[in-house]
Symmetry: C2
Subunit: 231 residues, 2 copies
């Protein structure tokens, strides 16, 4: 892979790039669909929940609390307001369990961060709840490698523009690494920054895109450890 040049800051996405996240959401979504099976088949419940989550994004943003509220709203909606209180209690319980999940680091992460943080300013750039992401960073033991955390309300061009301005660098000095082509790669390339894609085995429906990327500032990784060969 061709080397990357001229960068000053490396930003890492967190969920499903540094540690496991999406499978926990899917596990709870499965339990939710199972509870709601008395009203609709699982795939219908799942589709309704996804639609609700997307409609709520503008109001609630990303993260576990938003997911909890979207499940509650979907349960009320699908049951035509006849849902039992126990189901709502169970949803809240699931949400709280998610907030307390242990952190499972992905392969190679600690080694890569240890190496690159010696040469570059390294930041964590993620969506989701600030408190939850801070808690996960502390639990992960990775805090020492990061200059600071940047929580973005979304990962569109405008958000990266603000981030890059805030870092006092130009886009060509910025490298983003993450598992989502839509959120971590495309908007950064569009601004003239560098981006590396580290695939994770599962991706949230709302993050999927279906075309390939041709850009000289883009690198496709098979593992996060590939980073060490190109900087």
């Amino acid at each position: 892979m061709e080397k990357i040049e001229g960068i000053k800051v490396i930003a890492f996405d967190a969920d499903d790039t540094l540690w496991v996240n999406e499978p926990y959401f899917q596990e709870i979504e499965n339990k939710f669909c199972e509870m709601m099976e008395v009203y609709h088949p699982r795939h219908t419940v799942s589709r309704e929940l996804l639609g609700r989550e997307i409609r709520n994004l503008e109001d609630y943003g990303y993260g576990i609390k938003s997911f909890m509220l979207s499940m509650i709203e979907t349960a009320i909606d699908i049951s035509d307001s006849t849902i039992k209180v126990e189901v709502i209690e169970r949803i809240i319980q699931y949400g709280k369990e998610m907030l307390h999940k242990p952190i499972e680091l992905l392969d190679g992460v600690e080694n890569v961060l240890g190496q690159v943080s010696k040469q570059f300013r390294v930041v964590m750039a993620t969506k989701g709840d600030l408190l939850d992401q801070e808690r996960k960073l502390i639990k992960s033991g990775l805090e020492k490698y990061f200059h600071h955390i940047e929580i973005l309300s979304d990962k569109k061009e405008i958000n990266y523009q603000k981030l890059i301005r805030h870092l006092d660098i130009n886009p060509g000095q910025f490298l983003m690494i993450g598992n989502s082509l839509k959120s971590d790669v495309l908007p950064v390339l569009n601004l003239g920054g560098w981006a590396c894609h580290v695939p994770f085995h599962t991706t949230w429906e709302h993050e999927k895109i279906d075309y390939s990327i041709e850009n000289q500032k883009f690198r496709q990784f098979t593992s996060i450890s590939d980073l060490l060969e190109i900087i």
Copy 2:
């Protein structure tokens, strides 16, 4: 009032310092207590809700989504799981209304920001949901005065320590302005920073303290416009 010297960054709290916030929470809390009056007198419901909010802080953090979830949990709890689904629907509706409230700027704010942003780096330092605070800043028309927003998961010494480090200044170069002695003033003074208190007519129970502050880096304002006389 004695002048403040040597500062580089002025940080403003947002809710109830720049714009009205707590009265909206109190308005919804009143409606909630009214709905729950069939189970308990209002002051009991209010106390239960406060207790729930405080217990949930560690899991949920601050902001409207946390408030919504705490109201839902309190409703389930107080009703011994017999609460009607319509009540939960109403809570969600209230929360969404709060997220869409218009911004009501407090007196003098725009003039003060216009003046100080010419001489200092000005940031907004607030708790709450990132997305909600960003939305309020944009709706307020005040965005142009701020270098950037800092959302803190809490406003304790450790959070200000990280903020000050992130701003690449020392504590003596940092001035915090806000309506909460507990969150905006005390932790900053403890770190060796400057702090000004701008009282707001109402304060959330959890933010109240009952002693007076003696510190040469502390200034008590009657209005935010007092700032212009001391810098």
